[in-house]
Structures are given as structure tokens and as C-alpha cells.
Amino acid sequence: MSSVRVLVGTRKGAFVLTSDAKRKHWDISGPHFAGWEIYHVKGSPVDPNRLYASQSTGWFGQLIQRSNDGGKSWEPVGNKFAYDGIPGTHQWYDGTPHPWEFKRVWHLEPSLADPDTVYAGAEDAALFRSIDGGQTWVELSGLRGHGSGPSWQPGAGGMCLHTIILDPSHPDRMFIAISAAGAFRTDDAGKTWKPINRGLRSEHIPNPTAEVGHCVHHIAMHRSRPDVLFMQKHWDVMRSDNAGDSWQEVSGNLPTDFGFAIDVHAHEPETIFVVPIKSDSEHYPPDGKLRVYRSTAGGNEWEALTKGLPQRDCYVNVLRDAMATDALDSCGVYFGTTGGQVYASADAGDNWTPIVRDLPAVLSVEVQTLP
């Protein structure tokens, strides 16, 4: 019988939530790495018991943890993230040049084909790859070496590479996103990159349609249609039908087009989910109502999903990597909040229930559907 494993990264440790396919009763293990910030935990698609976790604190820096038994036990692996060559500078908040400095890993993306190959998205923005299970890391420096690199600027959360999407039909194609540089694509396994931001419009930068400089919050793809991408930008929900070559806005009737998380239904590639958040400095749901919005038309037409979610006095945030879907017949949708709740829906968002509600602030949520 199938089961589900939810991997939760929080401000104070990692948690592993498991359930059978009914998704009614959950076992919770953790905190793993208690007291440390766990920006992301993700499993290998080809070996679901192989997990990688990004563990860090301001005191002791960055660690990468690896599990070979689905999160029951962990071992630290390599944590040397050295920028290739002379790091150079990017722009600081005030526009002055600022040297590239490694701070942490925001996102880990295991290969679709090899459990020992994993990508790491870093702050200050760079992409690293390990081909030995995380023991050693090498920067794919063609990205940071893109001619626009010196003009990249940090977003409020830092200059982070937070999204890595591997194309299942083109092994050499990969998409990444950086706050606040924008989205980039490689078609040659990371050697060269091109900005894919045409159609984005950001009123808060000097040139609203610039090639780079956009605060992309997250991107999602359905693996059956890798040329179709959905983006939650700082403002605007966007869609591309040509692998990012151009984008169009699909915010439609959302109550606010600001937000962080976005994801796609496991079986319906035109069904997408966002959590609108009140911009710009408040960063909580509009009117104190926690609502997931679902579009079954690939955007523009959205319906509020509220059953089981707090509809008053709710002032949590849902961060960019804190939403995921499972692949069971009735698609499960999960998201975590900065208030420590992880909500789940076993019916594609129609009904929600908190499967755990008093964790530390949730930074990331990933889901594994196990045979």
C-alpha cells in the first residue's frame, strides 16, 4: 500500500511526517538537528530513502546531512562550498559592489537519475553540484559568471538561489531562480545560462522590464509538460509556455498577486495552487484569512480554498519552498506556515486539516509518495 512522507524544514530543526495513503493519521519524528535552521530537505526520486538536508546557523555555518534510510538516521557530508575562481562582486542593497560571500544553502535538488548527484542553490547566489552523494561540491560557475552577475542584487531575504528545476525530458536543461536577479535556464548541463525574464514587469526596479533584476519568488513545473512553467513573482503570478522564453501574467482575480509558494497538481498540469500574501512588508494573508487559491485553467481564474483553514485572525506566512503535492490518485497538497502548522489536503485542496500545528516556523515542505 502506498504511503506518504512529508519532509519539513523549520527554523529549529527538521521533522519527518508519515502516513498511509489515507492521509488521516500521521506519525511525526523529530526534531532532527534540533536548534539548527533547516532550509530544505528533499529526497532522491530514484532512491526515496536517500535524503539530503541543508542545516545551518549563524554560529556554526553550513552543514549538509544525508540519510540513506528515509530520515531515520543521518550523517554529515561535505560542507565546503567554494566559489570557482575569484568570486568578484555583485551589487549590495545600496548599489555598491559587494564581494560574493557564501552564507547558506537554500535548496537541494537531487538528480532525476542518480541518487549521488545533487544540486545546491546557495546564498550568495550560486549553483553547486555534487556527484558523490554530497561529499564534495563544485560550483557550476557559468551561472554566476553570466555577464549580468555584477548587477545582481539581494532581495530582502538575501541574494539566494532558491529554485532548481530539472527537466525530465531534456537531461541537460535546468531552470533556476534567484532573488532578486530573476530566472535563468541552461541547455548544456550548466555550462552556459541565459536569463529567461522576458515578459516580467517589476515596477520597483529602475527598468521594469530589465533582462535581470526581478524578484522571482518561486517556479513550478509539471513533469509531463516541462516547457510550461508557473512563477510566483514578488508581485504577479506568471506563466510561460515556452520554457521561460517569454512569460505572461495570470494573476487574474487573486485578492493579491504577491506571495511566495506556487505548485502544480500531480495529475492535472493546468491545476495550480498559490497562497496570496499581503504585500509588501506585512507578509501575512489578506484580512487575516488563510486561503489557498486554485486555478484549474492554468491561471487567470482562481477559486479560494478555505475549508479547514483559519478564516479569521491568521497572520502567518507561507514561504517559497513550503508547498508540495503528493502523487496519490487523489492529489494531496501540503503547505507549512511560519506559525508552525503544516496543513494537508487529501483532495486537491477542497478540504484541509493541520497534520501538525505547533512546530517552529516552517521554511520548507517536500513530499515523497512511496510505493
Binding site: 549563524g58 554560529w59 556554526f60 555555518g61 567554494a82
Partner: protein
């Protein structure tokens, strides 16, 4: 043998429950102690010193014989009492944060 007192998070990471006893080759200095510590507990690499720059992490300080030696040169000899094991070498994390 030199005694090193680690912050609690690093004791957990290194799977040790108390102070650490280390054989340090040559003169006892910050660098030689940290080199020996990382050789014996590889999981601590990068947690006290940056792996690339080898600079001390800014929220950590070093104490010996009730003196703050954080800003002493890394190759400066530590007091004899530390070298002999009579006094520990403390690695302290800042009491800060939430």
C-alpha cells in the same frame, strides 16, 4: 593531552558528551588545536572556521585561562596550563539569537 570545551551544538554534532581530549603535535596554538580537533572529528570542519577562508566564525570566541584569546594570532602559543591540559581551551558561542 589538551582539553577542549565545545559548545553544546558541536558536542551533539561530534557525538561527544563532555569535554574533548586531544593529542596536539607541536606547540599548542589555536590553529594546532583546531587542526587536531577537525582531524579527529571531521564533521566539525567548517563549523568553527570557514572552510575556504579558515577565518573564525564571527559568533564564536576562544578563551584560555580566563583570558579572551580570540583575537590573538592563530599561531601564537597558548598558555602552558592549556598545553599541559591543566586548563581547557574554551570555544564559546555568542549568547544571542532566538
Amino acid at each position: 593531552m589538551i582539553t577542549v570545551v565545545l559548545p553544546s551544538h558541536l558536542r551533539t554534532l561530534a557525538h561527544v558528551s563532555g569535554d574533548v581530549q586531544l593529542e596536539v603535535g607541536g606547540q599548542a596554538t589555536q590553529r594546532s588545536i583546531l587542526d587536531a580537533l577537525e582531524a579527529r572529528y571531521p564533521m566539525l570542519r567548517g563549523t568553527i572556521r570557514d572552510q575556504v577562508t579558515q577565518e573564525r566564525r564571527p559568533f564564536l570566541r576562544f578563551f584560555a585561562c580566563e583570558e579572551d584569546v580570540t583575537h590573538e594570532p592563530p599561531d601564537a602559543p597558548l598558555p602552558d596550563a592549556v598545553a599541559s591540559g591543566a586548563e581547557p581551551f574554551f570555544i564559546l558561542g555568542a549568547i544571542a539569537g532566538g
